[in-house]
Symmetry: C2
Subunit: 311 residues, 2 copies
């Protein structure tokens, strides 16, 4: 297969490299590290097995990329407005898209530009780009994939999804199929909303947040608000899911969230896709979510002017 | 009259000096600036008329102060736990207390230690201590005073209140009587909760907060939550009061709140009396106030360990 990767950061770089090592023809859109990667290729240090790719097909501009059978969108959502309008030419007639991004709402967004099968995934992985063309993957790696349907219903296991699962598993990747993609997205937001927001606003890791009783209570308030919004989208996140998520986070190694990593590195924050989109959904459903509104307003005040970027 | 002032910062220093200039015998409890004030006295630069008091009765310890006819408590609420247990000997049999503090709930607290008439006030003043023994009063100055009753009812205009009003007005101070002290306290909290919390959390002045649409919305959410708690305390703060307060704040000179001034000067923050006490009241009344809980949790996480101090 010919596979394109838009956004060669930790996510795009790691999963792209696995697919390239499995024998596929990979093409990477690479912005700031382009010259370095053309000269030195990609280096992936991984707990699941290191990879050295001295030669990769790097492209500095989308217009230079060939049409692909699979196009993986792995940039930050903050770049989508500059990316999505230009992806149609990068897909073959039978090509499909795999959207590997945080938050919610970007499937509707990309649908304005393509009608190809839209597969969408969530990555549970600890990986960071530590230098140009050099990615460090320290833990986890599971990808959950689902098939997006424009009526927001659960697609179940489709042929396109099974085919993608086979492709990923053949590249030594761990994959689970979400029969209901939105259920999986809301579940991930249950965690991402409180911990991304508070880790940035309070400059803290997960362990410190949960050790403070008032903050632990606020985490639960935020999760309950997300639960309420998900219910309005017909996705039930049971109370015991919240209990288990807090319990598991307490047992986790202290963890810097993706938004905190972005803030620490002065990169744009995914405020809109992780907090703004759920808040807009709540308003549309006439739900009151004051704690979510607090987090969004504070992040927007502090970081709102840097919310858009180019890849 | 013999008048004691506990906490000779901007508030205690300014109002004490006015009363001393009116001919009363003033005694000041002064902690960090004691030696300086003994030598140099107090200097008050004031938009309402400068005052120079080269000689003042300064005391470094409460045990050294004489019994007074009026004891003004003007320390930060963060010091109350160290002050209140020691005030009874500082009052004559016919003496009364004037509590000049922010927030809510401290009247019940002080009642554990004295049974004298308890008058309580709110100061609407821009004043800061800019050097040891040197206070700068730049704007406003109105004091609203009310008579505390242990059954939380409105006391109306009592003899003790009228007498205090006369004493203050004779010292060229602007005073209004609140027939219902708790109504006045909840009204001030309507402003203090959002602007104190957000000015510290976002390191911003009132104008910047209101210029951001998401933050302006959050200010209104917080005010509405305070309004709901006040209603449970049988105090009605009408919607048009919120509208007017936001409108007036937009027109104000950009303003650093008292909590922001405290944060900037590494002093303890009045988190408990301004946010914690209303939140506790909400919980007791089984009200949901998630935005207030968000503000409290974040301030508590960032500043909670420095919430108590000595005067």
């Amino acid at each position: 297969m010919r596979i394109g990767v838009i956004g060669t950061g930790a996510i795009g770089g790691y999963y792209g490299a696995r697919l390239q090592c499995a024998g596929h023809e990979l093409h990477y859109l690479i912005r700031s590290d382009y010259a370095h990667v053309v000269e030195h290729g990609l280096i992936i240090d991984s707990c699941a097995g290191d990879m050295r790719l001295p030669q990769v097909n790097a492209h500095a501009h989308m217009a230079h990329m060939p049409a692909c059978d699979l196009l993986i969108i792995a940039c930050k959502t903050t770049a989508n407005a500059h990316i999505f309008p230009h992806i149609a030419p990068l897909l073959t007639d039978n090509g499909s898209v795999l959207l590997l991004q945080n938050g919610i709402g970007e499937e509707e967004h990309i649908r304005q530009y393509i009608s190809h099968p839209l597969l969408s995934g969530l990555c549970f992985i600890c990986a960071q780009k530590i230098q140009p063309g050099h990615i460090h993957h320290s833990d986890y790696g599971l990808m959950t994939i689902g098939h997006w349907l424009d009526d927001r219903s659960a697609a179940g296991t489709t042929d396109a999804l099974s085919h993608l699962q086979h492709t990923l598993e053949s590249a030594q990747l761990e994959v689970t199929v979400a029969e209901d993609l939105l259920q999986a997205r809301w579940k991930k937001l249950l965690w991402n909303v409180p911990f991304n927001a508070l880790s940035v606003l309070l400059d803290a890791h997960t362990d410190a947040l949960l050790a403070n009783p008032s903050c632990a209570e606020l985490v639960r308030i935020l999760m309950t608000e997300v639960q309420t919004i998900a219910a309005a989208d017909n996705r039930i996140l049971p109370d015991k899911m919240i209990d288990a998520m807090i319990h598991n986070t307490e047992k986790m190694v202290p963890y810097a969230t993706s938004m905190k990593v972005d803030a620490d590195q002065n990169r744009p924050l995914e405020i809109d896709s992780i907090l703004g989109a759920p808040l807009a959904y709540a308003k549309q459903a006439k739900l009151s979510t004051p704690a979510l509104a607090s987090m969004y307003a504070q992040l927007h005040f502090l970081y709102g002017n840097s919310a858009q970027t180019h890849v």
